[in-house]
């Protein structure tokens, strides 16, 4: 008889179904944040607005890194490298727009 070992996490939930569900939620959130970003971009320019758009963009990047690339399951050093990249790029862009 065929047997299938279902991987379960510490709360007893099916790990693979969890992963697919999390990815689907991430996709939905990314689409929603994209809509918000575009709507904000149509508003009159302001420094606060620019900062919000940058933060939302970094958040989208964070979601892609962790839930699409799957780095949230990887060694912490790789998550830190990608997070640092996003934060540094965001900071440089924000600084260029705010202070120069």
């Amino acid at each position: 008889m065929p047997t299938e070992k279902i991987q379960r996490n510490s709360t007893g939930k099916n790990t693979r179904k969890n992963t697919t569900r999390n990815s689907s939620i991430a996709w939905g959130v990314l689409l929603g944040l994209s809509v918000i970003n575009v709507e904000l971009g149509a508003l009159t320019a302001s420094k606060m607005l620019m900062i919000v758009v940058v933060i939302l963009t970094l958040l989208k990047g964070h979601i892609v890194v962790n839930y699409f690339m799957g780095l949230r399951h990887c060694h912490a050093v790789w998550r830190w490298v990608m997070s640092a990249y996003l934060v540094i790029i965001g900071a440089i862009i924000a600084a260029a727009y705010l202070f120069f």
Binding site: S10, T15, L40, G41, V53, F68, A76, I89, Y97
Partner: protein, 199 residues
């Protein structure tokens, strides 16, 4: 008959995994992210010296096309994630279908971008028009080439999947191709915000 592990008496604590796919692709990914990062920074600082020019030129861009392309790439990336999940359960057929979907959306992205470039050229926009358009065309075309490369990789992965070269125990190729495609998506997310949205 299925047997499954007990939920409380056999806790499964996930161990940190290595980077998905071949490590060599990650060297490439980090290098590409670095290059694009430098270009993004250059754009931002160039803008600071020509704010009015950049603001006025940005208004001429087709933000709707850029937004549509954002949705296409994000969704294509999601389909690649589903393909990865499918092959991990040994479902080659589903993996193949998800990859076909991702490639279709990638093709649409390229088509929309080509139409956008045509519209730009028709309006007399080229690399010498002004500093903003130089950055805009250079960055988006550079990204365009990466999308093409990503699609070549995904197509190769899809063909290998179709011929049964991947399985639940051997899917490094799928993860490798997927990682590169997600990088392409990540770069566009930043590029779209920087060039089309932030002002």
């Amino acid at each position: 008959m299925f047997t499954h592990t007990s939920n409380l008496s056999h806790r499964i604590e996930p161990e940190p995994q290595p980077l998905p796919g071949d490590f060599a692709i990650w060297i490439f990914i980090f290098a590409e992210l670095l290059v694009f990062g430098v270009l993004f920074a250059a754009f931002a600082f160039a803008r600071s010296a020509h704010v009015e020019l950049f603001t006025a030129s940005q208004r001429t861009l087709n933000r709707t096309a850029g937004f549509a392309n954002t949705l296409l790439l994000i969704t294509s990336s999601y389909l690649v994630v589903r393909a990865n999940h499918a092959i991990k359960t040994g479902d080659r057929k589903a993996c193949w279908h998800w990859l076909l979907g991702a490639l279709s959306l990638g093709t649409l992205f390229l088509l929309f971008k080509i139409l956008e470039f045509r519209q730009d050229f028709a309006h007399g926009i080229n690399l010498s028009s002004n500093l903003f358009y130089m950055f805009y065309l250079a960055l988006t075309f550079f990204h365009f080439m990466h999308v093409i490369m990503g699609m070549v990789i995904l197509a190769a992965v899809a063909i290998n999947t179709y011929h049964g070269r991947y399985s639940a125990s051997n899917h490094t190729g799928v993860e490798t191709g997927a990682s590169y495609w997600h990088m392409v998506d990540l770069v566009w997310i930043i590029l779209f915000a920087l060039i089309y949205v932030i002002h």
